[in-house]
């Protein structure tokens, strides 16, 4: 029986990987992918805790998270497409209009 702590640590590692991905990658799509990683890490935590306390609430919440993630991915990709049309680049550095 694996302790709950293991699952939590796994989740933390995955979350950190996702964060590093957002930080390091210079491709907008890959950044979105990293965000998905983060969301999944959180899902794992929910399900693990749900199993531990013996309620389905964890899974219900995961259900909603997935739904929202889907919506977010759709909208995010639409934005990426619009940006690409504008600058012909997927590099986040290309969009520096807010620079001083």
């Amino acid at each position: 029986m694996t302790p709950i702590g293991h699952y939590l640590i796994l989740s933390a590692i995955l979350f950190a990987i996702g964060t590093a991905g957002v930080f390091f990658r210079r491709n907008l799509i890959t950044i979105l992918l990293s965000i998905e990683i983060m969301l999944n890490a959180v899902n794992l935590t929910f399900v693990a805790f749900g199993r531990q306390i013996g309620a389905v609430d964890g899974q219900v919440i995961v259900f909603f998270v997935m739904t929202v993630a889907a919506a977010e991915a759709a909208v995010g990709l639409a934005i990426v497409i619009a940006l690409f049309r504008h600058r012909e680049s997927l590099n986040p550095e290309a969009f520096t209009s807010l620079k001083w």
Partner: protein, 686 residues
């Protein structure tokens, strides 16, 4: 009713200041004169009412409202007329009205706007002077004091486009300010000590005290007030502004710098007679300064070549006489001389104005001469004024000056008497030098190119040779000259001393003003106390009779007085004779003396280099400190540095902080991550 006296001229000021530009000269000048005449009428009525009151309660007070009510001191805006201020208001309004009339002709060449501006200032001056004289406490008096200083500045610098005129105005104001500072200190000292600045209250507080033997707080307060007086009344050391003040129009010199404003200091001492009587040390200082000033100014006046400068120094000198009188305790004599001096000095100034007007701006007496044929009215009135000031018996100046000299001698100030007599000699001499050089002999035309500008009066025309036809004073001016000449003759007769059979009405009239006469204390002061308070004899022979002097002493007094009278008369005639010798019969003799003593002559001509000394010791250091130190060192470096520095600092920080706005999403994400780590760490730690 009392408030009307300063109110009329103030209304005149308002009208002329607001809409004077659009009024014709007749209207604005007439209005200004009319309000003065109205004020004179009210003053006359007031004095009439005053005279109807019994001697012990001869005062009319009018309180307008409470100005400062701050426990423990309360100061009202209140006017009070008593015998002393009665004399003053009559002088100010009467001679003031005459000078207003004169000015309507003298200033006629100015534009309408300038003409109105002149009269607005003149009216304003009269209003302030009346406030000064009628004020029943020191603060109201100070309001008037400052106000006349302001108007003096405005009027001296009337032709402000001329640099010398605006400089003179500034000089007058600034020098006055120094005196005013001392005045305020004195006033505050008294306020703190006695919780009042009202003259009557002060007098009643101080009267019961014994006169200070040494230099104590009362002497200090009196001395500070006196310093203020030296500023306003042009004594040593603050007289330097008066000669320069001649840059202003001549009627201004007549009114302000002869008859009224400069007498404010004398009046102030008279008003505070009780205080000064209790400060013998300060009184000595006053007397010495007065005498010294009189002598010094007399010597300078002897060699000046500008007709108005001679009269200016003469004014300083005569004011010295007044202060001498106050200093030896002869308050009534001082005021008497103030009153007569107003007549003949105004007359002399206005006469010189007529001369300048006729010569289209020439003021140098070396370029005059022979004018008595062309300007008869001016000549005869001027001559009367000169005779009066010289102290020839029978005219006004004789009685007042003689009384001063007598009191000086009688109170034991023999050295000061000698100085006074010497100054008398100088007065007669320089006065008649002026008369002879201006009106007698042959015309010495100016060898002048148009750039030679002696026309400091603003009439900058060339008074060239061959200007055959000179017109005498126009009617407005001539009328005033004659009126003043009559005054110069008869005005003195109200003060004829007992010694030669007179009643000295003026002295008797003034005496109550120099003591405490608060009706509330009517029972407290008997005749003996009044004598003690008066200290030295107050030039009122009536007082001597009450004080129980024996007949023998009175006879001795009379004898001395008659002797001294004879001496004064002799001096006057000798002075006139000297002038005659040097400037009429043997004109070369004057130049000969000047050549024999070139150093002395230069010294006198340059006014003992006092202005230069002040400049070197005071003005230049202040200027250097202000310019180099305060301006360049402090203002630019420190204050501007701080302000600019703050701006620069903000700019600098902004430049640094701007770097965070990279526009790059990744940086923002990075910052987010950093924040998360930090916050998480913080919470975990707890």
């Amino acid at each position: 009713m009392l408030a009307l006296i300063p109110l009329f001229p103030f209304l005149g000021f308002l009208v002329n200041a607001a809409i004077g530009r659009r009024l014709s000269k007749t209207v604005s000048g007439g209005l200004a004169s009319l309000v003065m005449i109205a004020s004179f009428a009210v003053s006359a009525v007031t004095v009439w009412n005053l005279a109807a009151l019994p001697v012990d309660h001869r005062a009319i007070t009018e309180t307008l409202y409470t100005w400062i009510a701050s426990d423990p001191i309360t100061i009202d805006v209140a006017f009070r007329v008593d015998p002393l201020s009665a004399v003053m208001i009559l002088v100010v309004t009467g001679i003031g009205a005459l000078i207003h009339v004169y000015s309507t002709a003298y200033m006629h060449d100015e534009s309408d706007g300038e003409f109105a501006r002149y009269f607005s200032y003149l009216n304003l001056f009269a209003a302030f002077m009346l406030v000064l004289v009628l004020g029943s406490n020191m603060l109201v008096m100070f309001v008037g004091w400052e106000g006349v200083g302001l108007c003096s500045y405005l009027l001296i610098g009337f032709w402000f486009r001329k640099k010398s005129a605006s400089d003179a105005g500034k000089k007058a104001f600034i020098v006055n300010r120094v005196g005013d500072y001392a005045f305020v200190l004195g006033m505050l000292l008294l306020a703190v000590a006695y919780n009042t600045v009202d003259f009557q209250h002060l007098a009643s507080e101080i009267a019961p005290l014994a006169p200070e033997a040494a230099f104590g707080p009362l002497s200090l307060a009196a001395l500070l007030l006196f310093v203020g007086a030296t500023g306003k009344s042009a004594q040593i050391p603050l007289y330097v502004w008066l000669p320069d003040a001649m840059e202003g129009p001549t009627p201004v010199s007549a009114l302000i710098h002869a008859a009224t404003m400069v007498t404010a200091g004398v009046y102030m001492i008279g008003r505070n007679a009780v205080l000064f009587s209790h400060a013998p040390v300060t009184m000595e200082v006053v007397a010495v300064v007065g005498a010294a000033t009189a002598l010094m100014a007399g010597t300078i006046g002897l060699v000046q070549n500008d007709i108005k400068r001679v009269l200016a120094y003469s004014t300083v000198s005569q004011l010295g006489y007044m202060f001498l009188a106050m200093g030896v305790g002869a308050f009534g004599a001082g005021i008497f001389h103030l009153y007569t001096h107003a007549f003949f000095k105004a007359l002399l100034f206005l006469g010189s104005g007529a001369v300048i007007h006729a010569l289209h701006g020439e003021q140098d007496i070396r370029h005059m001469g022979g004018l008595r044929k062309d300007l008869p009215v001016t000549y005869w009135t001027f001559l009367i004024g000169a005779i009066a000031i010289a102290g020839v018996p029978g005219l006004a100046g004789f009685f007042s000056k003689d009384e001063i000299l007598f009191e000086t001698f009688w109170t034991g100030h023999t050295a000061l008497w000698v100085i006074g007599a010497l100054t008398s000699l100088l007065t007669a001499t320089y006065m008649f030098r002026l008369v002879f050089l201006t009106f007698h002999g042959e015309r010495r035309a100016a060898a002048a190119a148009p750039g030679h500008d002696h026309g400091a009066d603003g009439h900058a025309h060339d008074a060239g040779a061959g200007h055959a036809h000179l017109h005498d004073a126009p009617p407005a001016m001539a009328l005033v000259l004659v009126a003043l000449a009559v005054g110069s003759v008869v005005a003195g007769y109200i003060g004829v001393p007992h010694a030669i059979g007179g009643r000295n009405a003026l002295g008797a009239w003034l005496a109550p003003s120099f003591t405490v006469s608060a009706p509330a204390k009517a029972g407290a002061l008997g005749a003996e106390e009044r004598m003690a308070v008066e200290g030295h004899a107050i030039g009122a022979e009536a007082g001597a009779a009450e004080g129980g002097e024996g007949h023998g002493e009175a006879a001795g007094k009379t004898g001395t007085e008659l002797t001294l009278m004879g001496v004064s008369s002799a001096i006057a005639l000798i002075g006139i004779g000297l002038a005659f010798f040097f400037f009429v019969s043997t004109p070369s003799a004057a130049d000969g003396v000047a050549r024999s003593f070139p150093g002395l002559h230069r010294l006198l001509l340059n006014k003992y280099y006092v202005d230069e000394a002040y400049d070197a010791v005071l003005v230049q250091p202040i200027r250097v400190i202000s310019q180099e130190g305060l301006w360049k060192g402090f203002d630019v470096k420190v204050i501007d540095g701080a302000v600019d520095g703050t701006g620069a600092m903000v700019s600098g920080w902004a430049w640094i902080l701007r770097r965070t706005q990279t526009g790059s999403v990744r940086t923002y994400a990075g910052s987010l991550l950093l924040g998360v780590v930090l916050v998480l760490g913080y919470y975990l730690w707890r």
